[in-house]
């Protein structure tokens, strides 16, 4: 019964495993507990619902950003697209902290790139970076 979430259950039949479309409940639960008062409890159903909510949020923001890329004929969704999507979808409260994170992330990335003497940017994953190294 723990997989049954009423209206969302139809998604379970798409052949997509829950572990592929949901964030781990342990992480979700931990983050919730950080926010809630110490004596508060969270029902199992509420935790599972939160799991679904955050996956929906990810899909929602990503598809908005992706749509912008499509219209502008770009293939890669970047950080600015995400900032734009958040503001467009009404989450402008996040705009300031997210821009700070972006700024910080770029500083650190530049730093790493300089240290490692890499010239490439916008690499999706370490595998690609390794492959590019092999090509040089």
């Amino acid at each position: 019964m723990e997989d049954s979430l009423g209206g969302s259950s139809s998604k379970d039949n798409c052949g997509i495993k829950e572990q592929d479309r949901l964030l781990p409940i342990a992480n979700v639960s931990r983050l919730m507990k950080q926010i809630l008062p110490q004596n508060a409890k969270i029902s199992k159903e509420a935790k599972e619902t939160m799991q679904e909510c955050v996956s929906e949020f990810i899909s929602f923001v990503t598809s908005e950003a992706s749509e912008k890329c499509r219209k502008e004929r770009r293939k890669t969704v970047n950080g600015d697209d995400i900032c734009w999507a958040l503001a467009t979808l009404g989450f402008d409260d996040y705009a300031a902290p997210i821009r700070r994170y972006l700024h910080r992330y770029r500083e650190i990335e530049v730093d790493h790139n300089n240290k490692a003497n890499h010239q490439e940017r916008g690499i999706n994953n370490p595998q690609e970076r390794d492959e590019l190294c092999k090509l040089r």
């Binding site: 992480n27 931990r30 996956s55 990810i58 979808l89």
Partner: protein, 183 residues
């Protein structure tokens, strides 16, 4: 790897709460999404953390309003409803309320007629719409020898009524007295 000093400079950590691989998997479920920069992945992950914290806090506030110590689905639903941007994309995705398979002890008990004894000389109206119980001839409307209230003759007059009375709501209406003009 990133040093702790780098992470905490300016008070902005780049340590993520959610596993990057999983966030990316969820993003790429949408087949229109082809490539995602590591920047974008980072920001989606971070903004998702913010969203979760926001929703958790609002849900907890609802629970506190309702004087509950356990945050449940209905508190989450109320929190979703109260924030328009969230409501727009999320309300329809939530499980429907009041799942019959999962009785929630904190909600009000279902308003079913109690099986206590009716006052003497009367009968519960739902008794009239059940088949006569062979073990309890006293409840059979076809047993005129027993002391019966006037309602029984009503059933004889309107034999079609049982078919209408299927839901508790109609029974409840049948039980409520006809309003009397008190002028």
């Amino acid at each position: 790897m990133v040093s702790m000093a780098e992470e905490e400079e300016n008070g902005v950590s780049i340590q993520l709460e959610f596993p990057k691989g999983r966030v990316k998997k969820i993003m790429t479920l949408d087949k229109d999404i082809k490539r995602v920069s590591s920047e974008a992945l980072f920001l989606v992950s971070r903004s998702t953390e913010l969203f979760l914290q926001f929703l958790a806090e609002k849900s907890a506030n609802v629970a506190i309003e309702k004087k509950r110590k356990t945050v449940n689905l209905e508190h989450v639903r109320m929190a979703v409803k109260r924030h328009q941007p969230t409501r727009d994309f999320l309300l329809d995705e939530l499980p429907p309320p009041s799942q019959p398979a999962k009785p929630d002890k904190s909600t009000q008990p279902v308003a079913r007629p109690k099986h206590d004894a009716p006052p003497p000389g009367t009968r519960r109206i739902d008794q009239f719409f059940r088949k006569p119980d062979p073990q309890n001839p006293a409840e059979s409307p076809e047993n005129p020898g027993q002391a019966q209230s006037p309602e029984i003759s009503a059933q004889a007059q309107y034999p079609d009524i049982p078919a209408l009375v299927q839901s508790p709501e109609i029974l409840a209406q049948a039980q409520s007295p006809v309003p009397v003009d008190e002028s």
